[in-house]
Amino acid sequence: MLKDITIGQFFPGDSIIHRLDPRFKIIMTFIFIIMIFTGKSMICLGIGAVYTVTAVLLSKIKFKMFVKSIKPLMPFLLITAFLNILFVNGETVYFHWKFIKITSEGINVSIFMIIRIVMLIVGSSLLTYTTSPITLTDAVERLLSPLKRFKFPVHELAMMMSIALRFIPTLIEETDKIISAQKARGAEIDTGSLLNRAKNLVSILIPLFISSFRRADELATAMECRCYSGGEGRTRLRQLKSSSMDYIALSVTVFFLLCVIMTNLIYS
């Protein structure tokens, strides 16, 4: 059950996408998101799809993994699409019953929305699939560093982020273990009535909270033992360096964004 969570998962590899500078990857992901949301027509989505598919192919990550990242969100997607079909007003009416109207516009809107969100998930999964959490937070720290002038605690934020990311798999594993242990004592967690399941949730949450606090406490002690005192004067092991490849990739992304904007202008 919990093993299906792929958010923040990283698949080590040596593809072009893996080797890109994480700072550029974050910026490109932002541009990609803007690209997806500014697109107003199917052609724009087509352009976005070309970009997404190329990036996915270049990453050499199995297609299956992306399907896995979409899967948990599928019910929400289908429900919203369904509501859109039922309630969006339009001119060409296929079916009419009381307040429910199925129109060609409604169907179009739903398909458009599904493709858009699927692409959004695939694109952002690509970022975490190809970038290790540590380099990702390094990049975030660098990108936010101008904010230091305004006394914004950039380093602390990045440290919290990397600790949080670091502990996602640990906590998932821990949760799995606790669930198994309570199941072994006959707790009904994924079977039984809803009320029973809710009651049994307590038997998972309490041990989980306790161990989270214990871990946080231990980690804080361990960090203090190694004289951690914040970002002041701290040097880094991995220096982020950008290469010509990064600039090429960025230009390609910007080019795609411009294409989408142009198409919007032409067809509006």
Binding site: K64, I178, S180, K183, A184, G186, A187, T191, P207
Partner: protein, 287 residues
């Protein structure tokens, strides 16, 4: 009769992803009623994965687990009953404790079984006694107890369900010597009292040798050997080869054999070694 039996049991983690790993590879086993079995193997040898199949927490990729001759997955809705019959105590079980009082935590499993209050009370008090927890402790919060006591509360929680087969994964891990002795003492007493089947996973040969009737050695997801304790230690050299340790006393006797003192028997407990040596010395004096 075999109480637990596996047929070609295989389990593959994250099948179809880059992390795919066969954790249990075609395991065939028969565990008889009333036996005390020690399960040993390296970390990652598949022992913990294997035992989670016995109570249906994991479902095998292929192969079957039979409890009393019946496939545990024959009726999916009855899997909870299997869990009451095959009690599993995880590694560091104290982390699963959650109730406000020791009493309530021990009673959790019994409550899930749907027993009535009187029966639950009887069982909790009985197992608390069996595990050396005083009655006064039952009213306290489990979070105030010492590490060893917490561990015993967690084990008692499973014992109270009176499972036919009790499986413990590293029950003494991370405890001080007196704590571990107490735990093993509890388990041995429990075995003597109810004569049920017990499986204990451990990486310490020393501990395992002292209690087990039979030993199951796992190596690289496969059963390396499964036999009576004596016969397993007869293969002491092979066991050392796969990187597992044999008891120190066994090593001493292997060395003695190399130096010309062959006792012709497998020695794995200090008591037995003492007896053999004394007999030998007496014999020599007599000559």
């Amino acid at each position: 009769m075999a109480v637990l039996k596996t047929e070609e049991l295989t389990y593959i983690y994250s099948e179809g992803t880059p992390f795919e790993k066969t954790a249990v590879d075609h395991v065939n086993l028969e565990i008889n009623e009333g036996e005390m079995v020690g399960v040993i193997g390296h970390t990652g040898s598949g022992k913990s994965t294997l035992i989670q199949h016995f109570n249906g927490l994991l479902k095998a990729t292929s192969g079957r687990v039979l409890l009393d001759g019946v496939d545990i997955w024959a009726d999916k809705t009855k899997i909870r009953d299997v869990r009451f019959q095959v009690g599993l105590v995880f590694q560091y079980p104290e982390y699963q404790i959650f109730e406000e009082t020791v009493y309530k935590d021990i009673a959790f499993g019994c409550k899930n079984m749907g027993l009535d209050e009187a029966e639950i009370k009887r069982r909790v008090i009985e197992t608390a006694y069996d595990t050396g927890l005083s009655e006064e402790l039952l009213k306290r919060s489990p979070f105030e107890l010492s590490g060893g006591q917490k561990r015993r509360v967690a084990i008692a929680g499973v014992m109270a369900m009176k499972p036919k087969v009790l499986i413990l994964d590293e029950p003494a891990a991370g405890l001080d010597p007196s704590g571990r002795d107490k735990i093993f003492e509890c388990i041995k007493n429990y075995h003597r009292k109810y004569n049920n089947t017990i499986l204990i996973v451990s990486h310490s040969m020393e501990d395992t040798a002292s209690f087990a009737d039979k030993i199951l050695v796992m190596n690289q997801s496969k059963v390396f050997c499964y036999d009576d304790t004596v016969n397993v230690f007869a293969r002491a050299e092979e066991i050392t080869e796969i990187g597992l340790d044999v008891p120190q006393i066994t090593k001493v006797f292997i060395e003695l054999k190399k130096r010309g003192f062959d006792f012709g028997k497998e020695v794995y407990t200090v008591d037995y070694a003492k007896k053999l040596l004394l007999e030998y010395l007496k014999e020599r004096q007599g000559r």
